[in-house]
């Protein structure tokens, strides 16, 4: 079973090369952006000296951590955005392409069940693609920090203190991992829906997937004058129950207007227990399970000829 899953997931990488090409492309863009910014900043020699002096002597470690965390977050959102688009296209294509190129009967001639195949695609969408993206985020951070260290050193700054001493790497990376995996689970009813559409539609899965998401709220609004469906579906795009509410009073220590040490940790803002005890999380998992089962049944029972 596990060996089959490994083989099936490996197969997804061969077929959908965008799973790793997209993160590599984003990593390259972010790195080029860093290089451009550093080159641009190098043009302001005087201001730079002041800034480096200030960062080394005036700012506390906590402020430096906040600044670097800010950089991490701003570079990570690009990955998360690309990840979301990639996952939509991947899951819509995953059970459609094999029917379009008629290879489905070849795959089904091998001793694997339809459930194993469909589950491998679900795992790819919910776990593998996010983990690959976090891997790319980590690699991007490391490369960018190394570039920034070299640059700071050439400008007379202390890279050890300014960058490596101030950077909450593990905290940031773990937080990124938790957030992308939680997002995968939170958004899993959509992924289940996309897999189901991908398994049954005869043409244009993208249109077939999004049309009901637009039409149903519209019809519900016109005829029932309610918006239950829209709230249930689009409400998921709102705040995921993984984030603690940010208490700004706590964030800044009022006396000194300095950043509260404990509050800079990204992980400190995440609440896994809250996430897994939220009714919304489990409702999503159940809907995803039902839709995935639907996809398995369609693949198993539909006659392709």
């Amino acid at each position: 079973m596990i060996q089959h899953q490994i083989a099936l997931i490996k197969r997804e990488f061969w077929e959908h090369r965008s799973i790793y090409i997209t993160p590599i492309a984003i990593a390259s863009i972010v790195t080029l952006g860093t290089l451009a910014a550093l080159m641009f900043a190098s043009g302001f020699a005087k201001e730079l000296d002041v800034a480096i002096f200030g960062a080394q002597n005036l700012a506390g470690e906590a402020e430096r951590r906040v600044a670097l965390t800010g950089f991490f977050l701003s570079s990570s959102w690009l990955f998360l955005f690309a990840l979301a688009i990639l996952t939509v296209f991947y899951s819509l294509d995953s059970l459609y392409a094999e029917r379009k190129d008629k290879s489905i009967l070849f795959w089904r001639s091998l001793p694997i069940t339809d459930a194993e195949t469909v589950i491998s695609k679900l795992i790819t969408a919910i776990v593998v693609i996010p983990v690959v993206a976090v891997g790319a985020i980590i690699a991007t951070h490391l490369v960018n920090l190394i570039i920034a260290s070299i640059w700071v050193a050439t400008k007379g700054g202390d890279a050890g203190l300014l960058i490596w001493g101030s950077v909450p790497l593990i905290d940031n990376w773990l937080a990124a991992l938790v957030v992308v995996l939680a997002t995968g689970i939170w958004m899993s009813p959509f992924i289940g829906w996309f897999l189901f559409v991908s398994a049954f539609t005869k043409r244009s899965p993208l249109l077939m997937a999004f049309m009901p998401l637009v039409l149903i709220p519209l019809l519900e609004g016109i005829f029932l004058r309610s918006s239950v469906f829209a709230e249930a579906v689009f409400g998921r795009g709102g705040v995921m129950p993984i984030f603690r509410e940010l208490d700004l009073e706590q964030f800044f220590n009022e006396d000194h207007m300095r950043v509260n040490e404990e509050m800079i940790s990204l992980l400190a803002h995440l609440d896994i227990v809250k996430f897994f005890t939220s009714g919304g999380t489990w409702a999503g998992i159940i809907v995803c399970g039902l839709l995935t089962t639907g996809a398995i049944y369609v693949r198993r029972f539909r006659d392709e000829s």
Binding site: E98, D101, L105, F106, L110, P111, E304
Partner: protein, 285 residues
């Protein structure tokens, strides 16, 4: 001896259309069965039922398994090549071998390499870079590297030129087939394979018209080439088909002793294709 495949009253309906109509047959181990029928006769539907790709009414058992309910177990011992089951175009030959090796317990990679060495297929080529003939060679190499008990071939050589077709069947016989294995093949080009079949089954409009070992064909059917007065006499003996060719009559008889026809003209065993045409026309009348 128990049958490898046993079908009793197998029926498959699509709405009001009956694709396979109350079909019963047995296939013994170590046989090569040719399943012959015109387009839309129900061949592919029957094969799909055997492969567990579609459900059906009636009793169907393949190697003691219910194909639809126990498809995964069945696929460990069945291989199939179907014209419609094409290899994915994006995959590399080496990736394909990796995948099958990890999925199929009875696959021998060494054997696949050995078979592929006899072709021009490179392991780093993608399927989309190969010609149609080479793709079939690749598929056959994979299938022949799987130690399966039953091989199902559905129009395996469709669209290939004569050289590839001949090679395909030659390889199948010399490198694959033995008394432990059973092959079920459907094709339109029946004349190319009739001398390698041990059994033959005709199917038309979902019904079995003939199910017989090849050696029994010789005993049950005879073709008479005759003309003139002999032809008139011969017609009186109730041929199942009559064709006129170059001023001579070709008559096909079923279940009549050759002694009865002796002296009326030249006797020979009918070609499978001619027998098939006669049976299908007979069924339509």
């Amino acid at each position: 001896m128990t049958s490898l495949v046993s079908a009793q009253g197998v029926t498959k309906r699509f709405g009001s259309f009956t694709a396979v109509d109350n079909v019963s047959f047995e296939i013994e181990k170590g046989r090569i069965l040719g399943l012959i029928g015109p387009n839309g006769a129900g061949k592919t539907t029957l094969l799909k039922a055997l492969l567990g790709l579609t459900d059906c009414e009636g009793q169907l058992s393949v190697m003691g398994l219910d194909p639809f309910k126990q498809r995964k177990a069945l696929m460990q011992n069945i291989c199939f090549i179907a014209d419609v089951a094409v290899l994915p175009r994006w995959i590399k030959v080496s990736q394909l071998l990796d995948f099958v090796e990890q999925i199929h317990p009875n696959f021998s990679r060494d054997r696949a390499h050995e078979l592929l060495r006899q072709t021009k297929i490179m392991s780093n080529s993608k399927v989309k870079e190969l010609s149609k003939g080479m793709v079939t060679q690749l598929h056959l190499a994979i299938i022949m590297s799987i130690d399966a008990k039953l091989l199902v071939l559905d129009e395996p050589t469709l669209g290939l030129d004569i050289i590839f077709r001949k090679e395909f069947y030659a390889n199948l016989l010399s490198d694959y087939f033995d008394e432990e294995r059973t092959i079920l093949v459907t094709t339109h080009q029946v004349e190319e394979i009739e001398n390698l079949l041990t059994d033959i089954m005709f199917i038309n409009d979902g019904k079995v018209l003939l199910d017989s070992p090849m050696e029994a064909i010789e005993d049950s059917y005879v073709e008479l080439l005759t003309s003139g007065e002999d032809a008139i006499k011969a017609k009186g003996l109730g041929p199942i088909a009559v064709n006129e060719m170059f001023g001579k009559s070709v008559m096909l008889y079923e279940g009549i002793s050759r002694d009865h026809l002796e002296g009326l003209g030249e006797l020979r065993t009918p070609a499978v294709a001619d027998l098939f045409v006669a049976k299908v026309k007979g069924a339509r009348q």
